[in-house]
């Protein structure tokens, strides 16, 4: 059985798409990450045009983040003030990102650009995670963990307009969150990711937000930013395939439930090493795709 995707304009096997959604959902449930950075490359490997993979991912992440944020709203673990500044920066970032996207699309290099962006980010994050988790795994279990130094980030202290973020219980300038939001917004627009994998570490280690509000607040930002990205991708590039998005989501929510259960049985460090391996594997596959001589030296695009 094949389903014809209305925007991608190709017939696909819906069960393969559901399965892909479930696999990424499983991983995201297990590791507690969004999974956008794995889904877009998978879609590209399956033959979905990269530009459509990115546009469609935006709408799928909206759905995933909504279902994720509801729990955090109930637990009151969303810092709306912080979220507001992140969204403000993110909205501008998305617009800039869409312009970059359009520029490379007009040049006909959007495929290469998306692949390269993914290779850089997956390579960087995968290596960092790998180094970190191998170091932890190699450390003798009895040895004391090195104490993280509690030094405040000096450049943050000198920023103007410092204010209190009540739920995060921090007193900082809103400028760093705006910059962070902006940067994540750009990434979101050009890569079809939520950006949690960048945002969460920055919130924890640079903004010094408490762990319990970090996920809820980042989901809150991701909903708005990916929603804007979806509308802009649809308006400017016609690259949002809602049928593909809903198929992925259906597989994704089921996979996430199973993944969350599986994740409880594994230790944190093992999990991180495993995720690092997967990230590096996807990165290697993208590199392979760019460096191997193509089967046919020509590519044809176009339609009526």
């Amino acid at each position: 059985m094949l389903i014809y995707l209305p925007i991608a304009e190709i017939p696909v096997d819906p069960f393969v798409i559901l399965f892909m959604g479930a696999v990424v959902g499983f991983l995201s449930g297990m590791f507690g990450v969004g999974g956008g950075f794995l889904m877009t490359p998978l879609l590209i490997f399956y033959g979905i045009p990269p530009a459509i993979a990115v546009g469609t991912q935006s709408s799928q992440i909206v759905a995933l983040s909504v279902s994720g944020v509801l729990v955090h709203l109930k637990r009151k673990t969303v810092d709306f003030t912080m979220g507001g500044f992140l969204v403000a920066g993110g909205s501008v970032g998305v617009v800039v990102g869409i312009f970059i996207f359009r520029y490379f699309r007009a040049m006909g290099q959007i495929e290469t650009f998306i692949s390269l962006a993914y290779i850089i980010f997956l390579g960087l994050i995968g290596s960092l995670m790998m180094v970190e988790s191998v170091r932890t795994l190699l450390r003798a279990p009895d040895a004391p963990r090195p104490r993280r130094k509690h030094r405040s980030v000096e450049w943050m202290a000198v920023m103007p307009f410092a204010m209190r973020f009540r739920r995060s219980q921090i007193y900082i300038s809103p400028i760093p969150p705006i910059i962070l939001g902006f940067f994540v917004g750009v990434l979101s627009a050009i890569m079809g990711v939520g950006g949690g994998f960048i945002m969460i570490p920055v919130m924890l280690y640079i903004l010094k937000m408490p762990t319990n509000v970090v996920i809820g607040t980042s989901l809150f930002q991701i909903i708005f930013v990916t929603a804007i990205a979806t509308v802009l991708h649809a308006a400017a590039n016609q690259t949002v395939d809602i049928v593909l998005s809903l198929l992925l989501l259906s597989g994704g929510v089921i996979g996430a439930q199973i993944g969350a259960r599986a994740g409880r049985r594994l230790k944190g460090e093992q999990l991180r090493a495993l995720l690092a391996l997967i990230v590096l594997g996807v990165c290697a596959r993208l590199v392979f795709g760019l460096v191997t001589p193509p089967a046919s030296p020509f590519i044809v695009v176009g339609g009526p």
């Binding site: 059985m1 094949l2 389903i3 014809y4 995707l5 209305p6 925007i7 304009e9 190709i10 017939p11 709408s59 799928q60 909206v62 759905a63 995933l64 983040s65 909504v66 279902s67 994720g68 509801l70 729990v71 006909g108 290099q109 495929e111 290469t112 390269l116 909903i223 929603a227 979806t230 509308v231 802009l232 991708h233 649809a234 308006a235 400017a236 016609q238 949002v240 809602i242 049928v243 998005s245 809903l246 989501l249 929510v253 439930q257 760019l290 460096v291 191997t292 001589p293 193509p294 046919s296 030296p297 020509f298 590519i299 044809v300 695009v301 176009g302 339609g303 009526p304």
Partner: protein, 258 residues
Amino acid sequence: MRWAAILSAWFMLAPAQAAEIAIALTNDHVEVDTGFSGARLTLFGAISGIEAPAASAGVDIISVIRGPATQFQIRRLLKRGPIWIPGNTHAIKDAPGLYLTNANRPITDIAPLPDQALYSLGTDFLIIDATQGHTETPNAAQSGVHNNLFAKAFVTEAKDAGLYRDRIGGVEFKKGALFAINVYLPANTPVGDYSVAVYLYQDGVLLGRDEAELMVNKVGIERRIFDLAHNQPVTYGILSVVISLFAGWIAALAFRKS
């Protein structure tokens, strides 16, 4: 004098002897829906002026199906450093979106070269205009060669994608003057207006031809989605977000208990 008279009489008689061919489609409307994985199209036809065409040797039929004129772009992948990236765009102007020929034996054996060129019988005789988007080569002659290369490459790519195909077979001579041609439209059949032409040959001479029209339409929900996304992209984008928000909420509800 007498010879001339006979000759002219013969020439005048010739058209009367000419056989004719006529076709009809089983359905002149093909609908592409969500589950479209290709369709079989049957052309029915009749030949007049030839006694028992199936039996008599040297009777050949060629059918040509031409999809809507489509703008394509073709690019060559170039090695830049360690990676392969697409080079300059060559626009392919008004190439048929689909081009399928069927014949009972190889077209080159059926029709003489001038006919093949005149009627574009077979993918080798398609006229493809691969104008260069940017100047890649300095002189005109070289760029002509270049365009030719891209035009040839385009046909090869279209064949690989299943959009262009020359097929020997599918032509069945039925009882008496009737024949049928079975054509398979691939899953990636583009939408639009098609022309269907059949050519009747006997011993390398074109005896008659006929044409019909075919329409390929997108129907069902995905046609509406496509139209909305392209005609009202902003509305479509907002609608996508609303659907996603709703789907996410449903997903959260569905798994709340477990």
